[in-house]
């Protein structure tokens, strides 16, 4: 089913829906950061200082995450990538952005690929952090995504286990009460607030989506940034992307883990800056 259009949302409504933040100079080249599963735009905090002086930096939260408008979240509408990539395009339209470089992490990279297929003329480049076109193994084609359907089921169980903790972390914010300081560190609390029900649905979108079919249609040049030991995307996934994305470059970081912009901000930023310089 096509993504539900959101006709007649005003510019302000789109920006509020996705809690859009714009930093840096208005006349500078545009970087739009797309966050992945598990957190919100705060994921990029450690690499922002490398970019805000020279770029117009746009950050946002996917609907259902962070400071987005939770009332816009419908689990059926947001049950596939289409709506998320449509939101991304609506943000670009609301800010009248063009010649955009998308910096997209994890499932955000899937959204970026879909948006680039839909509106290639808007985007100059894609910078894909710890990306994967499909996290699931595909026995028919021999594609190794790294996870099985059982693994995703196991993840949903882990989400259930954390349901109460997240729900109670959300509660003071929703109710507008003072946060109880003894609950946890304030900094920790202010980052990556998640609604446990959205997490379950977003986990399915993340780990069950498959955009391998889109890759041949991507014409926008891309940089694939992989981590050397990512529990979610084996190195073969980077090779697969690089083989199937025209005009792509593959870089493997020394950094480990799945979120290099948080664990190795300097190395990640340097790779991005080098690519931006070499392609501008």
């Amino acid at each position: 089913m096509p993504a539900l259009p959101s006709p007649a949302l005003t510019r302000e409504e789109v920006l509020a829906r996705n809690n859009v933040t714009v930093l840096g100079r208005d006349d500078a080249p545009v970087l739009v950061f797309v966050h992945g599963f598990g957190c919100d735009q705060g994921m990029y905090n450690r690499i922002l200082p490398f970019f805000v002086d020279s770029y117009r930096v746009v950050l946002f939260d996917h609907v259902g995450s962070g400071g987005s408008n939770l009332s816009s979240y419908d689990p059926v509408v947001y049950s596939s990538l289409d709506r998320y990539s449509a939101d991304l395009l609506e943000i670009c339209a609301a800010l009248e952005l063009f010649s955009v470089t998308l910096v997209a992490h994890s499932v955000g990279a899937m959204m970026a690929l879909a948006a680039a297929v839909e509106r290639p003329e808007l985007f100059d480049r894609l910078i894909l952090l710890a990306p994967s076109p499909s996290y699931l193994d595909d026995t028919e084609t021999g594609y190794v995504g790294g996870l099985s359907a059982d693994d995703v089921h196991d993840l949903l169980g882990s989400l259930d286990d954390n349901h109460m903790a997240w729900a109670s972390a959300m509660a003071p914010v929703v109710m507008g009460n003072e946060r109880s300081p003894e609950l946890a560190d304030e900094l920790e609390q202010s980052f990556c607030r998640v609604d446990p029900r959205v997490m379950r649905s977003f986990a399915r979108v993340t780990f069950l989506s498959d955009v391998r079919g889109l890759l041949p249609q991507v014409t926008v040049p891309s940089l694939i940034v992989q981590c050397s030991n990512d529990a979610l995307a084996p190195l073969t996934v980077g090779d697969y992307l690089s083989a199937h994305l025209a005009h792509s470059e593959l870089v493997v970081l020394a950094a480990t883990g799945h979120v290099p912009q948080a664990s190795a901000p300097r190395e990640t930023a340097e790779v991005i800056i080098r690519y931006l310089a070499s392609t501008s």
Partner: protein, 583 residues
């Protein structure tokens, strides 16, 4: 040794022993998660040995679900804020048996960065928590059912059940989404003498031929082609690219390939109208370009048949004057409002439960000085693009409310409903509810007898103003109806979100009731869905007794259409009311 390493009495503190004997299970890792040390409580609790742990990754201690969640959430939190707490997970203990645990971890920055993990047993899930989580699972299952139902309904309404190709509605939707291109080609394909085949060899043979032709068309096309079956024996194919002559020849050859049905060899042929676009100027002309391409191709198909069949005929669709037409029409609408050229007709609606009059839908008519009577389809779209729709809409509400009391003296009509169409633009106007309120105050019509027909797009726009208007109108007691239900792109979730009293099933579905399995299934689903939500159902465009009988059987509440009555002028309506009250 630093000052902090001594107790208050000056004795050096042995942190390693303190760590090892600490009463909470603890693990120290490097920043990348490599285990550097574990304490006694940890090895005792998990049954693991220190020697086999040191040098391995902490992530290896976690089952796969917890590993994914830790990598995507706890680890970045730790990197960003220096800590992650109250994480519920399991540790794979001796024999890889999961040990439920609650984990907190802090980043300790010394010469290098270290992570200090503290783990404790996890408390049991309380009954309330278990109930909450099971409620979440039930809600998800219900969302999934809703999604499947909507997808099925959408698929049924967009596709031809026989060939699996798009149907006419599906084609129009697909074409609206593509941008007309200078090299866009539309092929309108009509099978030759198909009716004769159907009548002489039977419907099942005919169906098999249609299915085969559908498959052959699909196989002969690239991925970007749109293919639809738009009538009994007619197909439409659109594709990009030059060389339409070769393509049309190939289609003819493919269709003419012999096929065997029940041991009988059948050779069929087709006539094709091919249209290409002369120029594409603006986005504004998009819909009109697509429509002209289709119309030109359809005419071309008939010309090809007339010229002897088994051939194609190319024509060029000229599609660059629609913007000028629009501007001319806008000027005419403006002077028509000033010149009193608009009037309302009223179409009676029958309540199937009581067999009595339910109410009337007010329908706008334009007495155009040159072109005669024009229905709303001829001007509403253009008016909608400008503020004119608000003026027209207010005029229609004012007139309908004033005339609603026409039948008050007639038995059976005293409590009838008056339905008025409201555009998306009116609904998002902040003055709209106030206007309705003052119109009602100035009349004797009770608010509960006024039904406002909203469009799906007007409602799902979900702008704060539209939402506020809907709530306020509901508060006034006005009834709210969704017009052309099922024809838009929207899911049906909004029925739950808004105080909707009624839906109107579009005539395109009603016309197929009892004839097409698809249409019947769609109407049935709409009625069931509406009744489950306590919403009443109006079927529009009911023209035959058969349709009326089927709709009655399906539980439809109200019907409207030529079968009951045409739209009537106020004068004729008075006569109609008088005569029907005497019946």
């Amino acid at each position: 040794m630093t000052e902090g390493s001594r107790a208050a009495n000056g004795t050096p503190l042995d942190y390693e022993s303190l760590f090892r004997a600490a009463p909470e299970a603890s693990v120290i890792t490097a920043a990348d998660g490599t285990i550097l040390d574990v304490n006694v409580e940890f090895t005792t609790w998990t049954g693991l040995h220190r020697a086999e742990l040191v040098g391995t990754s902490f992530l290896r201690l976690l089952p796969v679900g917890d590993r994914i969640l830790f990598s995507t959430r706890s680890q970045p939190l730790l990197d960003l804020t220096g800590r992650a707490s109250q994480v519920e997970l399991s540790i794979l203990g001796a024999g890889r048996v999961p040990v439920p645990a609650t984990l907190s971890v802090s980043r300790v920055v010394t010469d290098t960065s270290l992570n200090m993990f503290v783990l404790g047993p996890r408390r049991e899930r309380s009954v309330e928590e278990a109930q909450l989580i099971s409620a979440v699972h039930r809600a998800e299952a219900s969302d999934t059912r809703r999604q499947i139902a909507e997808t099925d309904l959408q698929h049924q309404s967009d596709h031809d059940a026989l060939t699996g190709l798009l149907n006419r509605d599906g084609l129009m939707k697909a074409l609206r989404e593509i941008v007309p291109h200078r090299e866009h080609v539309v092929y309108w394909i009509g099978l030759d003498h198909f009716r004769v085949i159907n009548e002489s060899l039977g419907r099942s043979t005919g169906d098999e031929i249609l299915t085969t032709v559908g498959r052959r068309l699909r196989e002969g096309c690239t991925g970007d082609a749109v293919i639809a079956r738009v009538g009994g024996d007619e197909f439409v194919l659109t594709s990009l690219g030059p060389g339409y002559a070769d393509h049309a020849d190939r289609i003819l050859r493919r269709i003419a390939h012999p096929l065997i049905v029940d041991g009988l060899e059948i050779i069929i042929s087709a006539s094709i109208g091919v249209s290409t676009v002369a120029s594409v100027n603006t986005d504004r002309a998009h819909v009109s370009v697509v429509e002209r391409l289709l119309r030109t191709a359809g005419t071309g198909m008939h010309e090809a048949k007339a010229a002897g069949r088994n051939r194609w005929k190319h024509s060029t669709a000229i599609a660059d004057d629609s913007a000028i037409n629009e501007i001319r029409l806008l000027g005419e609408i403006r002077s028509a409002i000033a010149g009193d050229q608009f009037r309302l007709e009223y179409q009676p609606q029958l309540n199937l439960r009581t067999g009595r009059l339910h109410g009337f839908e007010a329908l706008i008519r334009w007495d155009h000085p040159d072109r005669g009577v024009i229905g709303p389809a001829g001007f509403i779209d253009v008016a909608e693009k400008t503020g004119l729709i608000s003026q027209l809409g207010t005029w229609a509400c004012h007139t309908a409310i004033a005339q609603a009391t026409l039948g008050s003296g007639v038995p059976g009509a005293a409590a009838s409903q008056m339905s008025v169409n409201i555009s998306a633009r009116q609904l998002s106007d902040s003055h709209f509810t106030g206007t309705i309120e003052s119109l009602l105050e100035a009349s004797t019509l009770e608010p509960g007898r006024l039904t406002l027909e909203l469009t799906e797009s007007g409602v799902i726009t979900d702008g704060p103003q539209a939402r506020a208007n809907i709530q306020r109108l509901d508060g006034l007691g006005v009834r709210l109806s969704i017009d052309d239900f099922g024809t838009g792109h929207a899911g049906f979730a909004y029925l739950n979100d808004f105080p909707i009293d009624e839906i109107k099933i579009d005539r395109s579905f009603v016309s197929g009731v009892g004839i097409s399995a698809d249409a019947t299934a769609i109407v049935t689903s709409c009625i069931e869905l509406a009744h489950a939500l306590n919403v009443s159902v109006v079927a529009e465009g009911v023209e035959t007794t058969e349709q009326l009988m089927h709709l009655t059987e399906l539980g439809c509440d109200i019907v409207q259409g030529f079968h009951y009555s045409r739209p009537l002028s106020p004068e004729k309506l008075t006569l109609w009311l008088a005569s029907s009250s005497n019946r």
